[in-house]
């Protein structure tokens, strides 16, 4: 088994919600659709206040090369167009829809279609129209990844490693929606004839892996790859290395290594969009943590508020100290539950103890961060350069290669905010490099 150097093994907490089947949640009275649910330019709202909306209707259109459509998950009327808070703490322009609970759909919604006679352009157009973005948390518009030259792509990797602790949505999807995963992968492979598909699963989810394997059966161009369980196995660069042995850096795209990597939920979305005419309006979300009464997995409509899904999981059993949107390693801590679920919301995690608030002390140069860094950096050194704002030195020490996985902060015995300092300086350094071009 090939695996990357570095990484950490945090307590995974998956047993909390691992065995809870995905239950479908219905939307509440009000749904909020932020126009920025993806990397790139925000979508432009295409409705006015008072307009009526259908399920699957585009309410924000992609407004740039890197951008994605936003679609409504309910029918009703547009209540307001106003900035609303999202999980990263900022307020972005959002379309607020009042649910009429009638779930009237757009024409052709849910209609079975065949992709075999589709041409490449209409496939990309369909993915774009469905508003599909990477659903592992990075939210990169899927149609741009899929626009890569089919001649140069020889691997389509489905990222089912789910290395973040606590998250179980991908695991449940593998058990319950394996057909959709294989279906989605088959769709993609149809348009990349030279490529073979690989579903990459960590070895702590062997039952899911076996289930997938049994469904793959004799399909020649799809295979299953079992990976070592180690955070951040699911990081794109680490995953490509584990599957193909090819290494890419921050200046390269997976396509440069002949790969396209899609999260498991993204592949399901592509399947639904192409074969079932259902766009990206729902996602699987894990509501978990030691402060949640009944940790479980939901199939929730986008636009629903965090508060509603937490309540659906029985609310809090104890007062949480920290609530996180996403996993504990790379997720964002949130200040309010009144924010909407977006395409990249993998989980709501409520913890009774905030381990990140530990006081930091002097660095003792133990070198654990160096050992843990999957990018082979020296976090101890570059965090000092970051704090001193020595951006040129920071770049020289490969600080811009940081993927922000947080392993360095996780292992630091002095509890120093290494990853946080580095990510701030990384953003500044990239700006600096761009300004010098």
């Amino acid at each position: 088994m090939r695996f990357f150097k570095g990484g950490v093994h945090p307590y995974d907490g998956k047993e909390l919600s691992k065995n809870k089947p995905v239950s479908k949640l219905d939307a509440g009275e009000e749904l909020v659709f932020p126009m920025q649910q993806h990397i790139g330019a925000p979508a432009a709202p295409c409705l006015k206040k008072g307009d009526s909306v259908l399920v699957g209707q585009i309410i924000g259109t992609a407004s740039g090369f890197v951008s994605a459509n936003i679609l409504s998950s309910v029918s009703g009327t547009v209540k307001a167009l106003e900035p609303r808070a999202i999980d990263n703490g900022t307020k972005v322009m959002s379309v607020v829809v009042t649910n009429d609970f009638e779930y009237r759909t757009v024409e052709g919604f849910g209609k079975d279609k065949s992709y075999e006679d589709m041409d490449r352009d209409s496939f990309l157009e369909a993915v774009k129209n469905a508003g599909i973005v990477g659903m592992g948390g990075a939210n990169f518009p899927a149609h741009i990844k899929l626009a890569a030259d089919p001649e140069k792509i020889d691997r389509i990797i489905v990222n089912a490693s789910e290395c973040e602790p606590y998250l179980t949505s991908d695991y449940r999807a593998m058990l319950e929606r394996a057909e959709e995963i294989i279906g989605g992968l088959s769709v993609i492979l149809h348009f990349f004839p030279k490529a073979s598909g690989v579903i990459a699963v960590e070895d702590n989810k062997s039952d899911a892996a076996e289930h997938i394997q049994s469904l793959i059966g004799g399909q020649k161009n799809i295979s299953l790859k079992v990976l070592q369980t180690k955070y951040p196995q699911g990081a794109e660069r680490m995953l490509i290395y584990a599957v193909t042995g090819r290494q890419i850096n921050s200046k390269m795209l997976p396509a440069d290594a002949g790969c396209i990597v899609h999260n498991i939920d993204t592949v399901c979305s592509i399947y639904r969009a192409i074969c079932k005419s259902i766009p990206s309006i729902r996602r699987i979300i894990t509501v978990t943590g030691d402060a949640i009464t009944n940790p479980q997995n939901f199939d929730a409509p986008l636009g629903m508020s965090f508060r509603e899904v937490v309540d659906a999981a029985g609310g809090f059993k104890t007062n949480p100290q920290k609530i996180i949107s996403g996993g504990p390693m790379m997720g964002k801590s949130i200040s309010s539950l009144d924010i909407p679920i977006t395409k990249g919301t993998t989980s709501v995690l409520a913890l009774t103890k905030d381990q990140a608030s530990a006081k930091s002390s002097n660095c003792i140069r133990c070198g654990r961060c160096v050992k843990a860094c999957p990018e082979h950096l020296v976090p101890q050194k570059i965090s000092v350069l970051a704090a001193e704002r020595q951006y040129d030195e920071f770049i020289k020490w490969n600080g811009t290669e940081c993927v922000g996985c947080g392993c360095c902060s996780y292992v630091c015995p002095a509890k120093r905010p290494l990853s946080q300092e580095i990510s701030t300086a990384r953003a500044k350094s990239i700006q600096l490099l761009k300004s010098r071009k």
Binding site: N249, P328, M330, L337, A356, H376, V378, Q380, P413, K415
Partner: protein, 528 residues
């Protein structure tokens, strides 16, 4: 709801390691050797250990209190430093010496440079070297079971032979030495514990010891001899090598942080330790090797930046040229450390030249004063060893040929002034010879020998000696008083004579005795 929200950047979880746990692990790893040391050397050594720990914590708290910093004694790093200092002390040292050492380690080496993690040298080792220089006598007198004796390594240095018993004693700890360094096996046990607990990586100890072995095999001069294996084992298990390689060289703050850096560092200090042991006069090479290594650590760290994941030099260039030619500019700009290196080099060379010039100037300025002082000291010695004399007349004769007429072999001898001692009334009462033996273990031993008219020794005084601390350096104390009142040709007891050699320093004893014999021969023969 607002009271429950803690906001911070990711990651939101931490593992359960802590600085304190790491320090405690090292203390636990040191415990077997420390407890054995106490068992071997008695309760007084326990007192030394406890005193060192308390003193270190006290000085840390004191400094932090006065400098207005947060008091961090509870992280146990000061306690660890104290324990290490204590374990590096001879078992019967007066308590004030380790206390001074702790103050030096904690305040001068650690806290002044910013406290934990910012010290430029291992505090415990720096304190040990500081004390070795300041209190050489105390720091190098070892005794076991009430018998003072040389450490096995010092014996090896002196005699050049190793035996099986010595090696067995070294491994089990049945030897004299500092409190903590005696039992190699317990120290290795502690090291294994640290590796299992992932507190240290075995890279530094292994490269250090490996290089050291290779060096002593090649340059130790025992290759192919019958005691080769025993020699190697004595070198390996003797002295501070084990405690140094496992507990001192792996000190986080003063060793490189990357694996590549650690290998370079281990090899470097292994070479140095080998050099100091094989070619040096002092048996304490390990300490000096490690603190020298400590000082090049920042340099090693600077030049061992690891290759980042996926960044291939050739490939990187290709992707640069593929995109925009303009992108090349900043890349090249960052890759211009050549001028920086040249600058550093120039600065270092000029600093060396300036420092050298300053030293030369000071030497010229003080040369006369120093030689004047030396002359005065020599004269004072004449009066001291020749009681009753008030005046000394220089005798002019060809002493070399006088000496060569003797049947005895005095080794490599250089004769300085020979003077006739006269009392107030002008009668000759004896003579003094300023003589240098070049056969010392650490170079020249210059002494003055006084004798009365019957050629009986009235006194011997050593003017200049540079022997092994704790061994040959004990000449003044151990062997010099024995000559007084003796006459004729003197010899060491092992050659059937009456002079008791300095324990563990046969070479020194021989050189001094030869010089005294030569002086006596000259005194009894110069006027014939």
């Amino acid at each position: 709801m607002s009271d429950l929200m803690n906001i911070s950047a990711s990651p939101h979880i931490r593992d359960n390691s802590s600085v304190r746990r790491i320090m405690l692990d090292v203390i636990i790893a040191l415990m077997p050797a420390a407890i054995y040391g106490v068992y071997r050397f008695g309760w007084y050594s326990l007192l030394i250990l406890v005193t060192c720990i308390i003193a270190s914590m006290f000085f840390e708290a004191l400094f932090q209190k006065f400098s207005g910093k947060e008091i961090t004694v509870s992280d146990c790093s000061a306690a660890l430093t104290g324990l290490l200092i204590g374990m590096n002390m001879p078992p019967h040292i007066p308590l004030y010496i380790p206390i001074i050492g702790c103050a030096f380690a904690i305040i001068m080496v650690k806290q002044i440079f910013g406290g934990l993690g910012h010290n430029f040298m291992n505090p415990a080792l720096a304190a040990r070297c500081f004390l070795l220089i300041s209190f050489a006598q105390h720091m190098t007198s070892f005794s076991l079971d009430g018998v003072s004796g040389a450490t096995p390594l010092a014996m090896l240095q002196e005699t050049g032979t190793a035996s099986r018993e010595t090696v067995i004693n070294l491994i089990t700890g049945n030897v004299s030495g500092t409190i903590g360094e005696t039992s190699a096996i317990l120290l290795i046990l502690g090291g294994i514990y640290l590796v299992i607990r992932k507190v240290i990586s075995p890279v530094i100890p292994l490269t250090y010891l490996g290089t050291f072995i290779v060096f002593t095999v090649i340059f130790g001069g025992h290759l192919g001899q019958s005691d080769f294996l025993m020699y190697e084992l004595t070198q390996l298990f003797g002295g501070g090598l084990m405690i140094g390689s496992i507990f001192m060289a792996t000190d986080y703050a003063t060793s490189p942080i990357t694996k590549k850096g650690r290998i370079i560092y281990g090899v470097f200090i292994g070479l140095l330790a080998g050099m100091f042991r094989v070619f040096g006069a002092s048996a304490k090479g390990v300490s000096y090797a490690i603190i020298t290594g400590n000082m090049i650590t920042p340099l090693i760290d600077k030049y061992t930046c690891p290759k980042a994941f996926g960044v291939v030099r050739g490939k990187q260039k290709k992707s640069d040229s593929e995109t925009e030619p303009a992108q090349k500019q900043p890349t090249e700009k960052f890759r211009a450390p050549v001028s920086v290196k040249a600058k550093t080099l120039c600065a270092m060379i000029s600093i060396t030249i300036i420092a050298g010039a300053a030293l030369g100037y000071i030497y010229l300025q003080t040369k006369d004063t120093i030689s004047q002082r030396q002359k005065e000291e020599t004269y004072a010695a004449y009066f001291e060893i020749c009681e009753g004399a008030t005046e000394f007349d220089i005798i002019d004769a060809d002493f070399k040929s006088i000496l060569s007429s003797s049947d005895s072999d005095y080794g490599n001898i250089e004769i300085g002034d020979v003077l006739e001692a006269k009392d107030k009334s002008g009668n000759t009462v004896g003579a003094v010879v300023d003589i240098t033996s070049k056969d010392g273990y650490g170079g020249d031993i210059r002494l003055v020998v006084g004798a009365d008219t019957n050629s009986t020794v009235t006194g011997v005084k050593i003017l200049n000696i540079n022997e092994t601390a704790g061994l040959g350096m004990n000449a003044e104390r151990d062997i010099v008083p024995q000559y007084k009142g003796k006459s004729g040709h003197l010899d060491l007891t092992k050659n059937g004579g009456e002079i008791q050699a300095i324990s563990g320093a046969t070479i020194t004893s021989k050189a001094v005795t030869n010089a005294v014999n030569a002086a006596l021969y000259i005194i009894s023969n110069y006027n014939k």
